[in-house]
Structures are given as structure tokens and as C-alpha cells.
């Protein structure tokens, strides 16, 4: 019988194609606008490392100005000082720990014709790769001893390895970085967590870096760090003074496998701060934080407030489109009242008629959903064109979003069809048959 209803729906849509087209267009526009903003929000707020997002914690300590908090909401600073992060790393109290900062360097390729070029990089300790589940194409991470002994080793991104070595296994090769030779120990496979959760402070949606080197090399000024630096008092003269200053510019992550480990680590942090207080630092009340990945992303407002607002507005637009669809469906179905009366006379129950007309509403919804996908794709292209690289990778419809769009269209149209269908099915057949 459902096939029969589908055929009747097709005949009805074809018969009043103008009205049907208007409804498909209304639903399509609503779904298109909603899916454009929902997709951006969905990708912005996606869990970038679902397997262990609840075991990875971003560390915050409050070393800030005793007279003024680092953030208006009382949160500690977003980063740690060099001396604190290296001290925590040296204490080695967590299952895994990463100290890191963004860096940049000039890379000089081999060959007379190759010109030096700037590469984006990250200075990080060895656990970075295991902790954040970085996939390797060749080789692997360096180990803790390489960090401690400040070895000049490097992990390359796949794209840089393609550029420098034509994609072959380059482990053991040397690359000249910032004037020094570094030995390649690994090449990571294409990896682009979105959001790039491990360093939100330099942009949650930036590309993953091209080179990774041991963090300890920063202390020797072998490489140039960059990224955000915030100070609440002068850092003093010279690099050594800067490293020992209260300026925050490093990020520190720990991997804690259970609640007990988390509590233990928090106890350790409190003890550390208490010790530092004795040295005249950390003059503000103890305010240590351990935020897991999703908490940290929320804290940093990875999903921009205006993006959320746009999503709410687009969903309201969808509602307006659906209200229009209800009106159009009502007009269409009530114009079928004589036929409904006839079908009742010929033996159709109200349930039969309800199913028939709801099937038609569903077909219109699916057509609207398909059109909505086209509009959503166009909308996302527009978002990409408007925001450029920042939205690259965020403005793409994946299979889940396509499924959601179709489901949204179907459910919306069925909801929109409920009232018109109910009205149509309550017509008095005897009146319709006489007036036809």
C-alpha cells in the first residue's frame, strides 16, 4: 500500500507542480540555511579526540597579578610560564605530560636551486605524539632522553616530507633548520584534528605544524618561539630573565587515566603552588585547574558566540519556512477535499487518508531536503569565501550532516504536514461528494 501512496503522492505533486515547487523551495531554503550554520557549529564543537578526550587535561596555574585577575571571570591565565611548565614536566608526575609552544624556523633544503623557506613548527616534549595519538607514516617520536639531552631531532609533516624527500621514508636524513642540522626521526601521516585542540591559544582551526622539535631546544635559543605571550610585570633584561619571568607562553597537558590520577595530580599541583608561594610567587589564592579537552574548548569558546547566534537565527528561519509550508499544504490538501470525500465513500478510513497525505508531505520534505543540501553546499562555499583559510575544513558537509539534513527535512515536513493532513481528513465526505 505504501508504494500506492508514493505513486499518488507523485501524481499529486505533478498535478499541482507550482504549489509543490513552492513548498520544496521553502523547505529547501530553510534546511539549507539551517544546515550551513549547524555544520559550522557541529565541526567547531566536534570532539577532536573522542577516544581519550576525558583523560587529557590542560593545566592552568594562577601566577597572575595579585591585584588584578588574568581573566574577568576569575580564571587563571590561559598559559603557563616557562619555569612552571618545565618544572612540572621535570617532576614527571602524570602518566604522560607535554610541555609545548609554537615556533617558527627557516628551512634550507638541499640543492643549489632550492630556496630557503619558512616553516611553521612546534616545540614539544616527546609525549606529544603518544598523548595526542599522532599517526606516523615513517619512524616515530623521539624519547624523553632526547628532550633531556636537547638532541637536534625533528618530526616532519607528511606534506613537508613530500616536498623535501618526494614522499619517501626520510627517517635518518638531515634537514637544515634555523641554521642547524636536525635528524629526521619520524614523519607523521596526514593529521588535522578539528578543532586543533592541543593549542587553542594560537588558533583552534589553524593547520597542524610542519615540523616538531624537542621543547628543550628553546632554552638554548636554537629555535625561535612564537605564539601568544602575556606578562603582568616586566620580564627583565635578556633571554634568561625572560625564561624565568612571570610571562606565560607555554602550554602544558597531562594524561591522567582515571579519577584517582586526576585527584593525585591536582594535589601535586596544589603542593607545587604552595612551595612556590614560599618563594614569593603565586600571590593570588590557589586556583589550579585541570580541564579536559571538551571543557578546555568550551572555556576557550571555540564555538564562537556569533556562530551560535547565527545557528539559532537560521533555525528560526527554518521555522518560518515550515509555517509557510503548513499554509501551502493546508491550501493544497483542502483543495483535495472532494477527492478525500470520494475516497472515504469508496472505503478509505481516516487512517488510510492520513497515511496517504502524510506520505505526500514526506515526499515534499525529502525533495526539499535534497534541495536544502544544494543550498547548504552553496552556503558553506560562501562561508569559506567570506572567512578564507580560517574556515577551511570546517565548511564541509560530511555524511553525518547529509543524513541530518535529510532527517531534519523529513521530520520537519511531516510535522508541517500533520495539521493540514488532519484538517483534510476531517472533511465531511457527504458534503464534498454533493458539491464536487
Amino acid at each position: 500500500m505504501f508504494a500506492y501512496y508514493l505513486r499518488l503522492a507523485w501524481l499529486s505533486i505533478r498535478q499541482s507542480y507550482g504549489l509543490s515547487l513552492l513548498m520544496v523551495l521553502a523547505i529547501g531554503l530553510g534546511i539549507g540555511a539551517a544546515m550551513t550554520t549547524v555544520t559550522v557549529n557541529y565541526l567547531m564543537s566536534a570532539n577532536p579526540i573522542p577516544t581519550k578526550s576525558e583523560q587529557l587535561f590542560y593545566v592552568q596555574l594562577d601566577n597572575w597579578d595579585p591585584h588584578e585577575p588574568a581573566n574577568d571571570n576569575g580564571d587563571p591565565p590561559d598559559q603557563l610560564t616557562y619555569r612552571d611548565s618545565t618544572a612540572l614536566w621535570a617532576a614527571n608526575k602524570a602518566f604522560r605530560q607535554v610541555v609545548q609552544a609554537q615556533m617558527t624556523a627557516v628551512l634550507e633544503p638541499e640543492g643549489k636551486d632550492s630556496l630557503p623557506f619558512q616553516v611553521s613548527g612546534r616545540a614539544n616534549s616527546a609525549d606529544f605524539f603518544a598523548m595526542f595519538e599522532v599517526p606516523f607514516l615513517f619512524g616515530g617520536s623521539w624519547d624523553r632522553s632526547a628532550d633531556e639531552s636537547m638532541q637536534q631531532v625533528v618530526v616532519l609533516s607528511q606534506s613537508l616530507n613530500d616536498r623535501l624527500f618526494g614522499g619517501r621514508d626520510s627517517v635518518g636524513e638531515k634537514v637544515k633548520l634555523a641554521g642547524d642540522y636536525y635528524q629526521v626521526v619520524g614523519v607523521i601521516a596526514n593529521w588535522q584534528p578539528r578543532p586543533r585542540f592541543y593549542d587553542i591559544t594560537t588558533g583552534a582551526f589553524n593547520e597542524v605544524e610542519e615540523v616538531f622539535v624537542p621543547f628543550s631546544l628553546i632554552s638554548q635559543q636554537k629555535i625561535s618561539r612564537n605564539g601568544n605571550t602575556n606578562c603582568w610585570k616586566p620580564s627583565g633584561e635578556g633571554y634568561e630573565a625572560f625564561l624565568n619571568s612571570e610571562c606565560v607562553w607555554t602550554q602544558f597537558w597531562v594524561e591522567l587515566r582515571n579519577e584517582q590520577e586526576k585527584q593525585d595530580y591536582l594535589t601535586f599541583l596544589n603542593a607545587y603552588v604552595s612551595e612556590q608561594k614560599k618563594l614569593g610567587r603565586f600571590e593570588r589564592p590557589v586556583n589550579n585547574r585541570l580541564s579536559d579537552v571538551m571543557q578546555w574548548m568550551e572555556n576557550q569558546q571555540v564555538v564562537a558566540q556569533d556562530a551560535s547566534l547565527m545557528m539559532v537565527m537560521s533555525l528560526m528561519f527554518l521555522l518560518v519556512c515550515l509555517l509557510n509550508t503548513i499554509g501551502l499544504l493546508l491550501a493544497k490538501f483542502l483543495s483535495k477535499a472532494p477527492q478525500i470525500g470520494l475516497r472515504q465513500a469508496l472505503g478509505a478510513s481516516r487512517q488510510d487518508l492520513f497515511t496517504q497525505y502524510l506520505t505526500e508531505a514526506g515526499c515534499i520534505g525529502i525533495a526539499g531536503g535534497l534541495l536544502g543540501l544544494v543550498f547548504a553546499w552553496l552556503g558553506l562555499q560562501g562561508v569559506q569565501a567570506l572567512y578564507g583559510d580560517e574556515m577551511k575544513g570546517l565548511a564541509e558537509l560530511d555524511l553525518a550532516m547529509v543524513g541530518l539534513a535529510m532527517l531534519l527535512a523529513l521530520v520537519s515536513s511531516l510535522l508541517a504536514g500533520l495539521y493540514p493532513t488532519w484538517r483534510a481528513c476531517t472533511v465531511q465526505p457527504s458534503q464534498q461528494l454533493k458539491s464536487q
Binding site: Y4, A345, L346, G347, R350, S430, L433
Partner: protein, 246 residues
């Protein structure tokens, strides 16, 4: 087969109540061909709608094949309508976007027949009304008489025992009307009970029984023409005799 006792129908519009049918007592036997006449607004169509289970009586008893239809649910009435009753309308009421085959198919779908059985019945009925060669035509491609024949084929497709015709010749010229009437008579001869509302006294007189509805009251005109009478209500009989005597 059909029994109405003290049946009444009142329509309420705001504070105004209109009695469309009053104290109707009527019995129709298997194989009857009953014509119903009466002035406009007398209650003929209301009577037919109640008989066809399209409306529910406000009072009284209505038994169809022994079942009290006033107490049935919408779906039960739909099922009974589909299984026992066929409708023919003055304006044919064919679905314009469906071809003849699909129009006749409509009641068969609700009956739940399989595709093979539906096809057999549709072809058989369209053959009966002489339109088998046009089953892929749309209603708009047929004359009025042909459209009414399709409506008759549709009404008969489910093999109903009871055919209700509401002015079936009202939109046809006299030649077409005679042809449709002949078809109905033929159908009745084969055992189908027919109740036909008409304004055409000539056609009404060709029915086995003639009923007059006036001011919502039913009386039988055939009292003096045929035996036996099936009128149950003494008041209606009285009224009928009075009418016959005039």
C-alpha cells in the same frame, strides 16, 4: 438487508436546528430496486448518505445486514462501506489525474486485493460497461455517459450487494440516461440491491419500488402498484396511502 426504524437526522448550525429526516421507517430487501424522489431540500441526499454510512443518524435504529451501524467506529464503517456498498454520483466523481484503470482500482486497493485479483476485476468491470479498450484513458477524454459507466464499473468492482446512486443520470442527456438506467436494471437483475435518488419520474417508475421523501419524511408510492409493502411505520403507510390516493 437494510432496516431503518424511527430514524432521524438533525443538523445544527449555530442555534438553528434543521430536521433533515424525521421518524423514517423503512426496510429494503435483498434484490430490491428502490427509486427515491422528492423536491429539492427534502432530505433525499441525507437519506442516501446515512444509508451509505457517510453520515450517522441523530436518532433511531439503522441495521445493515443485521449490524447496528450507528454504534460502529469510523474504520468499521469504512470497512463495511468498502465491502458492501457501491456509490454512483451525479457528477461521476472520477479522480481526474487517474486513468480509468486506476479509478476503478481505488476501492479495490482499500479492500486489500492482490494485484492479480485487482487487475482481473478491473478488466471485468470495464468490459461490462463497454470501456475495456479505454482503460488507459483519462476521465477528461471521455463523454459524460462514458464517465458514468466508469463510475458504475468502479462501484461494482468490489462486488457490493448494495448500490447507492445519487441522481446517476442527472448530468446526462436522455439517450445516455436511458442507457445508464438500462445498465442499472441489468445489474439489479443479477442480484444487486439498488437505491437510486432521481428527479426523473420516468426513470423512477422503472424501479421496483418508489419512495417519496418530503420534509424529511419517507413514504412509499408503490403501495398501490406492487406487493408486498416494506414500510414498517404506520404513520408512513398512512402518509403513503394518502399520497397514492391523491
Amino acid at each position: 438487508m437494510l432496516l431503518m426504524k424511527q430514524l432521524g437526522k438533525v443538523f445544527h448550525t449555530g442555534e438553528v436546528s434543521t430536521h433533515a429526516l424525521r421518524e423514517v421507517d423503512l426496510e429494503v430487501q435483498e434484490g430490491d430496486f428502490v427509486s427515491v424522489t422528492g423536491p429539492s431540500g427534502s432530505g433525499k441526499t441525507t437519506f442516501l448518505n446515512i444509508a451509505g454510512l457517510l453520515e450517522v443518524a441523530s436518532s433511531g435504529l439503522f441495521l445493515l445486514d443485521g449490524e447496528n451501524v450507528n454504534q460502529q467506529s469510523d474504520s468499521q464503517r469504512s470497512k463495511m462501506r468498502n465491502q458492501k456498498i457501491g456509490f454512483i454520483f451525479q457528477s461521476f466523481n472520477l479522480i481526474p489525474e487517474l486513468n480509468l484503470f486506476d479509478n476503478v482500482d481505488v476501492p479495490l486497493r482499500y479492500r486489500g486485493f492482490d494485484a492479480k485479483e485487482r487487475k482481473r476485476r478491473i478488466e471485468q468491470q470495464l468490459e461490462l460497461v463497454g470501456l475495456a479498450s479505454r482503460m488507459k484513458h483519462l476521465p477528461s477524454q471521455l463523454s459524460g455517459g462514458q464517465q458514468q459507466r466508469v463510475a458504475i464499473a468502479r462501484a461494482l468492482a468490489t462486488s457490493p450487494r448494495f448500490l447507492l446512486a445519487d441522481e446517476p443520470t442527472g448530468n446526462l442527456d436522455s439517450q445516455m440516461a436511458q442507457s445508464v438506467m438500462a445498465l442499472l436494471e441489468d445489474i439489479n437483475r443479477q442480484g444487486t440491491t439498488i437505491i437510486m435518488v432521481t428527479h426523473d419520474h420516468g426513470l423512477a417508475q422503472r424501479a421496483k419500488r418508489q419512495i417519496l421523501i418530503k420534509d424529511g419524511r419517507v413514504s412509499e408510492l408503490t403501495a398501490t402498484l406492487h406487493e408486498p409493502l416494506h414500510i414498517v411505520s404506520p404513520s408512513a403507510t398512512e402518509h403513503s396511502a394518502k399520497v397514492a390516493g391523491v
